[in-house]
Subunit: 145 residues, 2 copies
């Protein structure tokens, strides 16, 4: 426990968030995602865990992580395989969190998502049971005071 | 860089602060302190660094670390060898920071300080050039909201 820090953010996750720089990406994924195998290709190399639903994990991460204003899409989810344009409730909840940050949620296909996740800084596996509870976040910058 | 986090706190130092629990101790030391050898006996095993003077480092750490209200002395420095009761300017500055947190600075002898530092969670070496810029902090608790 630390002052001002959401306890959902483990020491390992805090390390990753702080070690990331501008343009680095972190991926929050649901409980079915192949997190450990995908994370093996990332910068950290090891899966990180957040024992919460994806929306709580996303909110906790965004208390510290600035999203990238240089990017048109700094928050990218996975399109449902059967109906790419649909938005399941869990996705709508994530999109609302992203909108509250002033950004627009977008989505890419399942295998494009896997490829992007493999090129990321780190993967965080949550306890989310709902399908498509996955999101890639691009880190932005914090200007001088 | 992260929202709300002092950039003096490196990813490694953030990890240590978050991984510590109630009663664990972190030691901030000056540039002459035998940091690497003492840190070899600590929980982390490796020296951490903070590229700042000791007062800036102390203030940054205390933005996140709660001091221990269960302890009579959660902030302990090193007594000057030639004059144990004296308080050099750097120590007076640290004591003022501790007082602003609502606690009282105290001090122990040089070798007792080394022994206590070896039993700590982690040692953080700063760029402080002034002698006796060393302090042991005991982590407290944060109650439920």
């Amino acid at each position: 426990m630390l002052k001002t820090i959401d306890p959902l953010l483990s020491p390992e996750l805090l390390f990753a968030l702080a070690a990331m720089g501008h343009g680095d990406r972190i991926v929050l994924v649901d409980a079915n995602f192949p997190g450990t195998s995908v994370a093996a290709d990332t910068v950290t190399g090891n899966i990180l865990r957040c024992d919460a639903d994806i929306v709580s994990a996303l909110k906790a991460v965004l208390t510290l992580l600035p999203l990238d204003t240089f990017e048109p899409n700094p928050a990218v989810g996975m399109q449902p395989v059967d109906d790419p344009a649909s938005m399941p409730p869990v996705v709508a909840e994530m999109a609302a969190v992203i909108a509250a940050e002033g950004f627009e949620y977008s989505a890419i296909g399942r295998y494009d998502f896997y490829d992007a996740a493999r090129e990321s800084f780190a993967v965080v596996q949550t306890a989310e049971r709902r399908f498509y509870g996955n999101i890639i976040l691009t880190k932005g910058v914090i200007p001088p005071a």
